[in-house]
């Protein structure tokens, strides 16, 4: 009994409007706190980005306060409601931040100096549906693809696969060879199966933006062939994942690859920096293979991270100064190079030094970019489409659900609340 009571106590105290207002005695220095889910990036913010800003803006002290990614959305919401959130809020793309703006928690930033440095596409993730107001400064996008172990590819004498058949031939060869696990991915944490699986290879099937917009318009359904096919391909991955992949977590997969035990890693570009630090072999990357040679390729180039301002923040002037700096080309270059794999959305071309990051970005020239299908508009309701896709993608790879069942289930969930505009 005590445990439930303790849980309730915890819930009520955390969520009760906290009466504590931080006493900011130092009137001259404005303290800014950045709420973020990027706890991996803490050292980079503390050592590179914040000092660069503080050197130019004496009198403003910035603190980067990250928390666990899965808890970020609800925690930051609770903080905003209770009035204890920091001045700067890292923005998830699309529907989540939009909801915060509509509740009046995020300030409009349309007139911020430096906003003109971004294209409409870049701003789309943090702009109201009517396109009039932007409420977060776009920071970076991430691109999905596959990272591979160059040494393993040389040993096996295989080329980078361009088509799906080649892709499975490469996997088969590694499986026969036995030295390497063909592909490092697990389904225990579920999100990998969707984010690195379904969202990664899917755009080639539903033709990127075309399919995504058709889904929003209601002219396509998740049960259409274009949306079921990627599940079928995912189901074929099963034999090439390591032994016991059902219990393999995300860090397990990362370690398997960086220790050189796996040949291919279905990735997002955010892996580049940590992989560079861990792996002592050469890495390359390839975009999701297309069906037939010569097909147009589509990649998931997802606006992933922005920075907004707490509408009820205590230091709006200082926060605006910081945001204007975030919108500057100077920040773009600093950020893109400190965190290779987070690609700047700034219109000014950014010089990147990292070869692997350049490889990822080079796909933008030939392939058509799109964003994750569950992010915008169809991701607003309950059940949350993103979470549903995590679950069914993991089920499909585990073989506990057929691709058709998975598709039908997500469509049923979507139908329960989403009525496309006719």
């Amino acid at each position: 009994m005590t445990r439930i009571l303790k849980g309730m106590l915890f819930a009520t105290t955390v969520l009760a409007p906290a009466g504590l207002v931080a006493t900011e005695a130092a009137a001259q220095t404005a303290n800014l706190t950045i709420e973020s889910w990027r706890n991996d990036d803490l050292p980079i913010w503390q050592q590179k980005i914040i000092p660069a800003f503080e050197a130019k803006n004496p009198g403003i002290k910035v603190t980067f306060a990250p928390m666990a990614p899965t808890e970020y959305n609800s925690a930051v919401n609770a903080k905003l409601e209770a009035g204890t959130a920091g001045d700067l809020i890292t923005c998830r793309p699309f529907d989540l931040s939009l909801a915060m703006f509509q509740k009046g928690q995020l300030a409009a930033l349309t007139d911020l100096s430096g906003m003109s440095n971004f294209s409409d596409t870049a701003k789309s993730a943090w702009t109201t549906d009517d396109g009039k107001t932007t409420f977060c400064v776009p920071m970076a996008s991430v691109i999905h693809g596959f990272i591979y172990n160059k040494k393993a590819f040389q040993e096996a004498g295989v080329q980078v696969p361009k088509t799906e058949d080649e892709f499975f031939a490469v996997l088969e060869k590694f499986k026969k060879g036995g030295t390497y696990i063909p592909m490092a991915m697990g389904t225990k944490d579920q999100w990998e199966a969707a984010t690195m699986g379904y969202y990664n290879i899917g755009p080639n099937y539903w033709k990127g933006e075309e399919g995504r917009k058709a889904l929003i318009a209601g002219s396509q359904k998740l049960t259409d062939a274009a949306w079921v096919e990627p599940y079928k391909t995912l189901a074929k991955w099963k034999p090439y994942l390591g032994d016991g992949f059902e219990a393999q977590t995300y860090p397990d997969s990362q370690n398997l690859f960086t220790l050189g035990r796996a040949a291919i890693y279905p990735a997002g570009s955010w892996e580049i920096a940590p992989f560079k630090a861990q792996a002592d072999f050469e890495m390359g990357a390839f975009p999701p293979p297309v069906k037939k040679a010569g097909d147009t390729c589509y990649i998931s180039d997802h606006n992933d991270i922005g920075l907004g301002m707490n509408a009820k923040g205590k230091n709006p002037e200082a926060a605006k100064k910081f945001l204007a700096w975030v919108a500057s080309p100077e920040f773009a270059e600093l950020y893109a190079n400190a965190l290779p794999g987070f690609f700047s959305l700034n219109s000014t071309a950014v010089k990147m030094n990292d070869a692997l990051a350049q490889e990822f970005v080079s796909w933008r020239q030939n392939c058509k970019p799109t964003i994750r299908p569950s992010a915008a508009i169809v991701g607003r309701g309950k059940p949350n489409l993103d979470l549903e896709m995590w679950r069914v993608s993991a089920n499909v790879i585990n073989g506990t659900q057929t691709p058709e069942q998975a598709a039908a289930e997500t469509q049923k969930g979507l139908d329960s609340w989403y009525k496309p505009a006719k």
Binding site: R3, I4, M8, A11, N73, N77, A394
Partner: protein
């Protein structure tokens, strides 16, 4: 004798001064307990009757409960969690408590060597943080880095190893057994204490009547420790229906695979606090918490008013 007789015999009691000190001594505990236990409980129950309507918290009566049981998705989740929770409890009752009783019975055998050592060793996991227990077992059972596959290989059982935590069929049983491993010390200690309380004379009398060994355990000791077993069962029941921590550390808040290890605690957490892109819904969370409270209340009342009253107690 009856009450009236007493009243007749006893003189009118002397009026004593009001005993203020009792209230003074009780006050700190009472106030703290009220502030940190009773008020939050009442607040949670109250919140379950309210919901956000157009941005404002409004009284909705039992609407939340109706929605929890009628909304196809919510009710599926809820019944799945309840079913898993019942299985979780049954496994504890079938494994943890009998094993605890068996260990206690063995420990209470006189002249057992290293009894103190075994007693402490078996009790230690109970004292460990669930975070440590969850993490250790996750590592042991990991198909990649774990020692379980290797150790099973040494004894030729490699074929029997599977990624238990990742398979929907086995995940719940595995997590339950981890929990059993952690908490088996509690029934052991309680039963052990009860066994030590049995007077020597009773056992000697039994021996004179020729009841020794197994039949002594079944016929003499077990009936005498039944009240303790009852208490242990209630503790297990309450603990299991409030469980959350171990599942959260081992399987995450999604309690995968495919909700196979989702119990009421994890469902409450996800609903109340939200998870990833799903926002927290406090009213629905409070509703689930209220239902959990009622389930536990029902279980405990059943024990207190039905079972405990029929239990025979022996006074020595």
């Amino acid at each position: 004798m009856s009450d009236t007789e007493i009243a007749d015999i006893e003189p009118v009691p002397v009026k004593r001064p009001t005993r203020w000190h009792i209230a003074v001594f009780l006050a700190p505990a009472f106030l703290v307990y009220t502030a940190v236990m009773i008020l939050p409980l009442i607040e949670t129950l109250r919140l379950s009757l309210f919901n956000m309507i157009e941005g404002r918290l409004a009284f909705v009566g039992f609407d939340n409960f109706a929605r929890l049981f009628s909304d196809p998705r919510l009710s599926t989740d809820f019944w799945n969690a309840l079913k898993n929770n019942v299985i979780f409890f049954i496994i504890h009752m079938l494994v943890q408590n009998p094993v605890g009783i068996a260990i206690a019975a063995m420990l209470s055998v006189p002249n057992l060597r290293f009894a103190a050592f075994y007693r402490s060793a078996i009790f230690v996991p109970t004292l460990l943080s669930f975070v440590i227990v969850g993490f250790i077992w996750k590592l042991i059972l990991s198909p990649i880095w774990g020692i379980a596959p290797n150790m099973m290989d040494w004894v030729g059982l490699k074929w029997a190893f599977a990624p238990w935590l990742g398979k929907p069929e086995t995940a719940l049983v595995t997590v339950s057994l981890i929990s059993v491993w952690q908490y088996v010390g509690i029934p052991m200690m309680l039963i052990y204490a009860a066994l030590l309380n049995i007077p020597e004379e009773v056992l000697e009398a039994a021996e004179c009547d020729g009841i020794t060994g197994w039949s002594q355990f079944w016929k003499i000791k077990l009936p005498l420790i039944l009240p303790s077993i009852g208490i242990v069962s209630v503790l297990t029941f309450v603990g299991n229906f409030n469980a959350f921590d171990l599942i959260y550390t081992v399987q995450g808040a999604l309690a995968g695979p495919n909700g196979a290890t989702d119990i009421l605690g994890t469902l409450l957490y996800r609903t109340f606090f939200g998870f990833q892109n799903q926002m927290g819904d406090r009213s629905m969370g409070a509703t689930i918490a209220a239902v959990m409270f009622l389930i536990i209340l029902a279980g405990v009342s059943l024990y207190l008013f039905v079972i405990q009253r029929r239990m025979r107690r022996y006074q020595f």
